[in-house]
Each structure stands twice: as C-alpha cells, then as structure tokens.
Symmetry: C3
Amino acid sequence: MGNQIAVDATIMDNVVLGDNVTIGKGALIYPNVVIGDNVFIGAYCIIGEPTMGYYKNTSNHIFAMTKVGKNSIIRANTTIYENVIIGESFQTGHHVTIRENTKIGKNCSVGTLSDLQGDIEIGDFVRLHSNVHIGQLTKIDDYVWIYPYVVTTNDPYPPMGNLVGSHICQFAQIATGATILPGKTIGENALVGAGSLVTKDVPPEIVVVGVPAKERGSVKDIKDDAGNNVYPWKDYLKQNRGYPWQTADMFDEGKV
Amino acid sequence: MGNQIAVDATIMDNVVLGDNVTIGKGALIYPNVVIGDNVFIGAYCIIGEPTMGYYKNTSNHIFAMTKVGKNSIIRANTTIYENVIIGESFQTGHHVTIRENTKIGKNCSVGTLSDLQGDIEIGDFVRLHSNVHIGQLTKIDDYVWIYPYVVTTNDPYPPMGNLVGSHICQFAQIATGATILPGKTIGENALVGAGSLVTKDVPPEIVVVGVPAKERGSVKDIKDDAGNNVYPWKDYLKQNRGYPWQTADMFDEGKV
Amino acid sequence: MGNQIAVDATIMDNVVLGDNVTIGKGALIYPNVVIGDNVFIGAYCIIGEPTMGYYKNTSNHIFAMTKVGKNSIIRANTTIYENVIIGESFQTGHHVTIRENTKIGKNCSVGTLSDLQGDIEIGDFVRLHSNVHIGQLTKIDDYVWIYPYVVTTNDPYPPMGNLVGSHICQFAQIATGATILPGKTIGENALVGAGSLVTKDVPPEIVVVGVPAKERGSVKDIKDDAGNNVYPWKDYLKQNRGYPWQTADMFDEGKV
C-alpha cells in the first residue's frame, strides 16, 4: 500500500519513509529521520526536532539520525528530537516530548504529556503512563511500568548539575506520584507505592511506601481482595497485554 | 451571524456546525462531530480524534458522535476524542486531552494540560483546574472543584488492569497534588488537603490531610483569617462565579 | 540578515519583528506583538493569545502588547498570551503556557509543559524546569531555580478565590514535587526538599523537608559526597551556567 502524506505536512531532505506510512496534518519531519513500515504519525507531530546547536548555526546544522520502528503509532502533537532510536510497535499519547540521545526498545508505550528529558535508555515492553517525567541518565529495563506523575530526578545538589541517573530494574512497578531521588536503584519486581519519595535503593521484590519511602515487606505477601497472590506480576497477570510469555501461557490454558 | 472557518482548518464529512461558530487556524475536525451555536474552537484543536480501532482499519473506521455544547470555548491545542458528549458553556485551557466514552455536563471547565483518560462521567458546574489527571471510570458529581496535579487512580494492583474508579460527590474540594487511590469515595462537601494520599473513603463534610490522609474533623470547623466559616462553601461563597443559586441570592441581597 | 517566516505562519496586524527573526511552521502571531532581534519562534507557537474579553467581542478586542526580548528561543507549541513582557535571552521548552499580565526578566528559561497562570512577576536568571505550575500572584526573585512538578498555590480556602501569592526570594531552590501553600515566603538561599508541602514561611538559608515541611537546619551544613560545602550555591557553583558573576570568577581562576 502507498503512503498517505497530508498536503500541509512538511518533510525535509533525507527522510526515509517505509511502506504504508501515514503522515498527518501539519506534521513536521526534519532531516535524517527514518520511519519504518506501517507507521502512523499524527497531526502536528514533530520528528527529528533539532538540539541546541541548531540555534547557533541553523543553516549548517547536521541532524543526527532519528528512527521510528515499524508498526508504531505516534499520536498528535508528539515531539521527538534528533538522535532518538525507537524500536518497533512503539506508541505515544498526545503532547509527548522525547529528547535527544534516547534509545527505546520494542513494544514500548509513552502516555500523553510524558516528558523524556534525553540521555535515557529504555528496554523492551516498557509502559510509561501519562505525565511521567524521566530525567536525564535514567536507565529503565524491560517490562517496567511507570504510572502518572512519577518523576525520576538526577541532581543530588541542585543546581550543581553533577547528574546521576536512577536505574529501574525489570518488572518493577512505580505507582502514581512517586519521586525517585538521584542515583537510586529500584530492584527487579519491586513495587513503589503511590506518592512515595524514594531516598534509598529498593531491593528486589520489596514494597516501599511513604515520604520518605520505607520497606513494607515482600511483594509476595500482597494479596488481592479475593486473597490471591498478585506479585511478581509476571506470574499472575491474567489479561492479555501482549507480553511474549502470554501467548504461550494462554495456549497452554486453552484461552487462545 | 455566519461561521468563521480558518482557511487551513480541516473539516471532514458529516460535521454539523451551529450558527456563529469559529474554527481556528489549523483545527482538525473528524467525522460525526456536532458543534453547537456560538462555539469557539481554537487553533490546532483536534475534535473527534479516533480511538484505537482506527489504526487497524483506517479507511472503514466508523466514528462515534462527539458533541460540543453551545457557547463553549475550546482553547488552542485541545484534543477531544470521538464519543465524547459535552454540555453547553464548556471551557478548556490549552493542551487538554479528553478521551473517548466521556460525558460532561453543562457549565464545566477543564484547565490547561488536564488529561481525562476516558470512560468518565462528569456532572454540571464541575471545575477541573490545570494539570488534573482523571483516571478511567472516575465519576464526578455536580459542583466539584479539583485543583492542579490531582490524580484519580484506578488499578489497585498495577498492572493487573482490574480497574475500579473513584467517586467524587457534589461540592467536594480536592486540593493541589492529592492522589486518590482506586475505588475511593470522596463524600459531599468533603475537603481533601493539598498533597494528601487518600487511601480510604472520605465521609461527607470531613477534612482529610496527609500521607496517608487522616481525618481532621468537620469542614464546618474551618474558619478563615477573619474568623468566618468557609465550608460548606456553597453557603459562604461571596464571589459571583456563575452558580445557579447565586443569581437568586444576589437578587435577595440587592447586589444584582 | 533577513527574517525567515514559514509560508504557513500567520502574522496579524501591528506585529513588529526585529532583525534575523525566524517564525516556524504554522506559528500564529496575534496583533501588537513585538519580537526582538535574533528571536526563534518554533513551529505552532502562539504569541499574543487573547484573554477572555476576546471571546465576548472578537472583532473589537484590543490586544495588549506582548514583547519577547532579543536572542530568545521559543520552542515548538509554546503559547504566550497578550500582555506578557519578557526580557532578552529567554528560552522555553515545548507545550509551555504563559498567561496574561506576566513580567519575566532577562536570561530566564521555562521548561517543557510548564504553566504560568498569569499575574506573575519573575526576575532575572530564573530557571523553571519542566512541568512547573506557577499560580497567579506568585513573585519570583532573581536566580531562583524551580524543579519539575512544583506548584505554587494561591487560594487558602478553595474555591473562595481570595487569592494570595507566594514569594520566592533570590537564590532559593525548590526541589521536585514540592507544593507551596498560598502566601508563603521562601527565603533567600533556602532549600525546599523534594516532595515537601510548605505550610509556613521558610527562613533564609534554611532547609525544609517533609509533609508538612519541617526545618532541618542551615543549608551551610549540607556537604556533598566529597565532603565539600554546596550551599549557598552561588558560592560553590563550578559549572559555567552563564551567571554574571561566573565570567569574572573564571577570569580570576584562569579558566577563561
């Protein structure tokens, strides 16, 4: 199938479009952007937005490559900077900002109003909900979920600017409104409660809650209203959310 | 008076415009949108934004109806999805997102950057300030005010996805930065203090404060700096904010 | 050098452009806007956005002057209202909103998604990071830094609307996620910790932390990991961040 490019979109030099790409109304694609097959770029998205050097020497700025993987949906009003590499089956909400020097794996999503500040590394199957703020130098491993109004910070003595990023390990869950102080590690399968202020590393499979956040035992002790175990969530997730292990499980259970 | 449609706006098929409608620069109106008389749609607004099914079958997607009631002002860069029904005299700020399956009554306002996640029911005269996040399945009754950076959550055991919404009863006030955990009820005339984490239901006319939020007595015991009662606020509001009972009162008091 | 105006930008009557101005794709400049030399206005920015009176009488609305000082960079999707006066070398991120009756000094920056609610006075060299919410009537002195998800509130008894602003004194640092209650003063060189709820005035050079925020001693007692003093930060800042005293110091130290 051919590409559909809105008449008022602007596509600059050296842009590579795959097959079956849609570019929405008024979208602006800067040079050296590579867009995979079946990608949908919504209205007024900006892809390949230039970094600071551009403003100092507009006509000679060399744009670093930005790639959006195949089968991605970039919703209206999302801005993605130059030097961002994103894997396949990516999705954004609206008014998302993804700054330079960011690498995002496959099957990730970033919700409305989320702001990735650049110099960030994100694994596969990571879900950032709406209005998440990921500070520079944050590293997020596979299968992490982060909920609204979570902030990962990076300057221990502001405004000194000696930044240290935090590290969110695989399968961790960081609930709404939690703030992670600079340089902290959230362990694998850990759960950070809503509104918590994380001032220390969180060990794997531990729940922390409060301001400042304190340990409240193992995630394995959490039971839902029916008395069933819930965490580590990989073992208990019933809904089909497209995880690679689910298809197999659901086949086993006869659900597919 | 005739309508004023910007030359670079896009209006798709089966859009119904009332009288005296203004459609701003670059606005994008999808099919099956109904816009009432005297409505102002600001620059780069998107009305009737399609839901997920659209991306799977773009050319055959059937848009559910979206209505914006008469005398509304939708400010620049607001995005409203399909299947949203909004009453008269509605207002938004900028960069607002209102997702599908949402019903909003009359005389409501939603401030800049607020994000309504869909499957939401909102009564009349509700005021959401800037940067409010309303989770799916939230129900908000008449005359509620919610202030910046409040979040209503809905997943008790993330990311299980067994969502339960919260219910904010009429005249309740939820101050800046409060987080409401899934399924909680905030009673009529209750007051949730700034920065609170609401982990239990809040009874009517009760003040709660803190992380986690604890009861601090009746709203009737709160007095302002001059020693006057302030709550329930309906009884004490002196400013004319356009409430239906105010016109009558002000006539009684000779102010109108 | 001449100006570069995108073909699909809209520039209304009585707009004054300096030399070497760039106006990006689809930008919308309302009447009575004055833009200084070397200013870059990004794609889809709106400058001079009208206030409420416009909607009541569109054709006769008199736009108050808005000025953007020379050498400023206004990034894509920023909206600046009428009656905003901004000094030279200003910068914004994306999706910024600056409402009416706001005065901002020189060498300031306002990050992505920040929302200045109007009736605000900001000094020189002030840095607002991403997603900062500055309530009406807030006064911010020179050299203040405010970090993500900070909110300055203004209504002591919501929704009464008897607003009182807060005052942030020079060199103060307000860390991520802090909420400042109405009418509070944050003293010179004070440090408000991440996630704090400020319910009382903070004296100069004092650290406060917690919900509610409590005094934790002098900023002079804070040492970094190497055991060095860090605050007042003006005395210890090693990085060149463009402050007026730095050039002189760096000359003294032979760094320039």
